[in-house]
């Protein structure tokens, strides 16, 4: 690497303890690799996680790391970043950690637009507690805690993030190494809360949950890799595209029914209005291809920088520069 870092520089000395075959291994590896590419010194990187299989990740990173409590990682990461805007902060969470117990901190971090990068390992199951359904489990999922199938509607993480005023959302697949690096890199570059949903496979408790779209054979036909400024074209033969119909989008076969590349929408990740981004985020197989890559990336002021700006402004005008100044300000009187 030009900057002298290798992914191994980001590997800690701990044995990785995930199940063989777990999607987490690849995600870890791509994060290490992305960080090596970016070249931020290890000591300037902080990785914060909650509790879950995925939340073990910080132990494996040769950076500063904090494996905290279930669901609270966004709040802890918010504290780190607000106190220390100079650090690069990553937050690792499972679908349970981020969206069940941690849902509130998740949406509030996003609303505040704190400059942290959230990697959401979505295996649609509680792995560490051995297989209960999660808030992203598909309706009808049979799991240890839903022997007759779930009756709950799942969250769509991207839809929720955008509903919480999210400015960056990307999606990738554990097995798609290049795509993962691409979106991790984009998230790192983005200032503000970045949410990356990784479709992750839990070989033990929810094996093949994403197989319909992640499967090598069908991936290209069932996913749409979005790239800013590029046409929304997909398919093994790049013969399908997305077009607008009213307020919605629709898949068409290029060359058929009179549709050509010209009709296909161009992806604008930087568009402030969320309308189209929400449509993209919500696309589900089989009706639609599932959107991959950076779906939304809009630059807005971040909480941490605003806090700093406000503080700097006050510093300019105040006469109170120290505790001793403070105690003598305002109403005092002397006794002698």
């Amino acid at each position: 690497m030009a900057n002298g870092y290798n992914f191994k520089d980001f590997k800690s000395n701990q044995n990785v303890r995930w199940c063989p075959g777990c999607g987490d291994h690849a995600i870890l590896r791509m994060l290490q690799s992305t960080l090596a590419d970016i070249g931020r010194p290890q000591e300037e990187v902080v990785v914060v996680s909650g509790i879950g299989c995925s939340s073990r990740l910080p132990y494996y990173m040769n950076t500063y790391g904090f494996h905290t409590i279930h669901g609270r990682a966004p709040a802890i990461a918010s504290g780190v970043k607000t106190a220390r805007p100079d650090l690069m902060v990553w937050q690792i969470s499972g679908d349970g950690d981020a969206l069940a117990i941690g849902g509130n901190h998740f949406i509030h971090a996003i609303r505040r637009n704190i400059d942290i990068n959230i990697i959401l390992f979505n295996n649609q199951i509680y792995g560490l507690t051995k297989g209960q359904y999660s808030p992203t489990s598909r309706k009808g999922t049979v799991s240890k805690s839903s022997p007759f199938g779930t009756v709950e509607v799942p969250f769509r993480p991207g839809e929720l993030a955008l509903g919480a005023r999210g400015q960056f959302f990307a999606r990738t697949i554990d097995t798609d190494l290049e795509l993962s690096k691409e979106v991790f890199k984009a998230a790192a570059d983005h200032k503000g809360t970045s949410v990356i949903e990784v479709l992750q496979n839990c070989v033990i408790y929810n094996d093949k949950t994403h197989i319909a779209i992640t499967d090598k054979e069908h991936k290209e036909d069932r996913t749409l890799h979005l790239e800013h400024g590029k046409k929304m074209i997909f398919g093994k033969n790049r013969d399908k595209g997305l077009i607008r119909v009213g307020f919605d989008v629709k898949v068409v076969d290029l060359g058929k029914g009179g549709f050509t590349e010209r009709d296909v929408l161009v992806h604008n990740a930087h568009e402030k209005d969320t309308s189209l981004h929400i449509d993209l985020v919500n696309m589900e197989y089989p009706e639609f291809p599932v959107a991959m890559g950076v779906i939304r990336s809009v630059q807005e002021p971040t909480y941490d920088e605003n806090v700093q700006l406000q503080m700097d402004a006050v510093h300019q005008t105040t006469g109170i520069k120290s505790f001793d100044d403070l105690v003598h300000s305002g109403n005092t009187w002397a006794v002698d």
Binding site: S12, Q14, P41, Q42, E43, E44, V46, V48, I51, P58, Y59, M61, N62, T63, Y64, G65, F66, H67, T68, I69, R72, A75, I76, A77, S78, G79, V80, K81, T82, A83, R84, D86, L87, N104, H105, H108, V307, Q310, M311, V314, H315, T318, I320, K321, S322, F323, D324, L326, V327, H328, G330, N331, T332, W333, A334, V335, D336
Partner: protein
């Protein structure tokens, strides 16, 4: 205090301003006490208001009160009974008849004593003075509303604004009663309403007219003079418990060379800490108003992890929500100051009232063996000292510290001699130093067992911590049975080591007393006053007050064993006495408890102490 006397010189006096929630009694009380402090009196104040923002007008539930105790020597409590009561309406009178001294002066706004208000307050007739047998009191009936309206007739203000100033009329009257001039209050009014000169002017006008009304009716009531207090020379300011805590942490952070970070969520009666620190951007304080208390403490913990002095502030229900995260701070061994301003419980309980019933929660409200340092402030202004201490201990021992305050301390105020930061003890963060190769985050100082702190950004010292048990020797996650036992003991020992650096327990009163009274936290002023008065009249009683609870001061056992009878007084059902019993099981503690949302009164304490002595 005789009805006929004209000018009475007093050593101390208690005044209670009382009216509807909308009547501005808190402001009136504050102006009176602030201006009294400026004239050199020692003061102690106690606001007492309903849980509703505006409870139903005219009812007893809606009465808001503010009590000020002033004296020419040190005063420690806002006083049990008022010498002067200002009652802006019948409900205010009714609510306070048990809080005034026989023969006290009562100032009533007769305009508000109409049929409707009398009924709302629960009077059956139209003469509350007779109905409540107040004939022997000095009653000063003034048509305050009418005179206020008259006073502002020409200023072109709307009726609502005019009526809002009637508290100033009452205040003017009280200032006259105490032979004060108006200068200090005028200055304070100008500061307060600086941006609204019309309002400032109106308030000052009504204040003066109230004062002049007093001059006019002089013949009918006694007036009082209180000499200045013999306070130590120095610069003073008024200080309440919440501000004192905020400032104590500011001082400690500056001394330690750390940034102060408060992660918190509003809750009565702790919100002023958040508010005070939000205003301190000048000193680089970062305040994170979080989505809830869990996020509050977690952002603070994140800030601590990354090298700030992390703090959070809350009251009982919020502390309950923080339980799990405190456990993480214990396990992660991170510096964290957790301020709990206690209020009446359980559950939402009596949110605006005072109580000391979160002690057990502070000590034990966590899963597993999860020791934290627990301490408490005992006067509004010494909350500064204990906030400083809490911060120092948190940083130097890498531990969460729970600092207990309460509604009484938080809202009460006192003159406070302004300190110099240079005079305060150093605070030295245990930064990781030396070679990083063999370092791990759970290497500790031999003497204190404090682990070293490697702050993100420090090259080479990258490390991971978390809530799982870790190996004593490597700092890695460990499930080894013996190691766990060792670590559990170690964490407890580290907290116990704090006893080496804190002051010993001080005993007030005669050395040869047979009886020792014990208090902790916000009850100091009342107990001290009671003890002091009894010792003055020859009833020999000793008194020890605890600010450090876990660990207890080193000489605690020695002190406790010196006396034949030991009585523990607290505003709960006996939480501290239980803690003492489990620590010193063979000492026969007695207990005195009150759970009424109110402080002790010195008289009920004296009664109880006498009984104990004579038993």
């Amino acid at each position: 205090m005789e009805k006929s006397s004209r000018v009475i010189e007093l050593k101390e006096v208690v005044i209670r301003f009382s009216g509807d929630s909308g009547d501005g009694m808190q402001l009136t009380g504050t102006l009176f006490s602030d201006s009294s402090a400026l004239t050199g009196n020692d003061i102690s104040t106690f606001p007492d208001y309903p849980a509703e923002i505006r409870a139903p007008q005219g009812t007893i539930g809606g009465v808001s009160g503010f009590q000020v105790h002033l004296g020419n020597s040190e005063v420690y409590t806002p006083g049990d009974l008022a010498d002067v009561l200002v009652a802006m309406n019948p409900a205010a009178l009714k609510a306070n008849i048990n809080h005034i001294r026989p023969g006290a002066t009562i100032i009533m706004d007769v305009d508000a004593f109409d049929e409707k208000n009398l009924r709302k307050a629960g009077y059956v007739g139209d003469d509350p003075v007779t109905e409540d047998s107040l004939q022997d009191f000095n009653i000063l009936k003034a048509p305050i509303s009418t005179l206020t309206k008259a006073s502002l007739e020409d200023m072109g203000l709307d009726k609502k604004t005019v009526l809002r100033t009637k508290n100033m009329f009452a205040l003017g009257l009280v200032l006259w009663l105490f032979n004060r001039n108006l200068d200090n209050v005028n200055t304070l009014i100008e500061k307060k309403f600086g941006k609204k000169p019309e309002i400032a002017k109106a308030n000052k006008k009504v204040l003066r007219d109230g004062y002049n009304y007093g001059v006019t009716i002089q013949a009918l009531t006694p007036s009082y003079i209180i000499q200045s207090a013999d306070l130590e020379p120095g610069v003073y300011r008024n200080m309440n418990g919440n501000q004192a805590i905020a400032w104590g942490m500011i001082a400690a952070a500056e001394k330690a060379g750390l940034k102060l970070f408060l992660g918190t969520y509003p809750i009565t009666p702790a919100s002023e800490i958040l508010q005070e620190l939000s205003a301190r951007k000048d000193l680089g304080v970062k305040v994170f108003q979080a989505e809830d208390e869990i996020a509050g403490i977690c952002t603070a913990l994140g800030a601590s992890f990354s090298g700030s002095l992390g703090a959070t502030s809350t009251s009982g229900p919020g502390l309950a929500l923080m339980s799990e995260a405190i456990g993480l701070a214990v396990m992660g061994e991170l510096p964290l100051v957790i301020i709990n301003v206690q209020r009446g419980g359980p559950s939402t309980g009596l949110p605006t009232k005072t109580e000391q019933s979160d002690l057990m929660q502070a000590l034990y409200g966590r899963n597993g063996e999860s020791p934290a340092v627990v301490m408490a402030g005992s006067t509004p202004s010494n909350c500064f000292d204990y906030a400083y201490w809490a911060s120092k201990i948190a940083v130097e021992f890498m531990t969460p510290v729970v600092l207990l305050s309460d509604s009484f301390l938080a809202n009460g105020s006192q003159p406070w001699k302004v300190p110099k930061l240079a005079d305060w003890p150093a605070i030295e963060p245990p930064y990781a130093v030396g070679a990083a190769q063999d370092w791990h985050p759970y290497i500790r100082k031999d003497a204190t067992l404090t682990r070293y702190w490697a702050v993100p950004g420090t090259p080479e010292f990258m490390h991971r911590i978390g809530g799982l048990e870790k190996d004593y020797n490597t700092g890695d996650v460990s499930y080894d049975p013996k190691n766990h036992h060792r670590m559990v003991e170690l964490r407890e020992q580290k907290v116990q080591n704090v006893a080496e650096v804190i002051p010993e327990l001080h005993v007030y009163g005669p050395r040869n007393a047979e009886v020792l009274v014990i208090g902790w936290g916000g009850t100091f002023g009342h107990i001290y006053t009671a003890i002091d008065e009894m010792n003055l009249t020859g009833d020999s009683i000793a008194y020890a007050h605890f600010n450090f609870i876990k660990p207890l001061p080193k000489n605690t056992e020695k002190v406790l064993r010196r006396y034949k009878k030991v009585l523990v007084c607290e505003l709960n059902m006996g939480q501290f006495v239980s803690y003492l019993r489990m620590t010193y099981p063979d000492i026969p503690f007695q207990q005195f408890n009150k759970v009424q949302g109110l402080p002790f009164t010195t008289s009920e304490l004296k009664e109880r102490f006498l009984k104990l002595k004579n038993d």
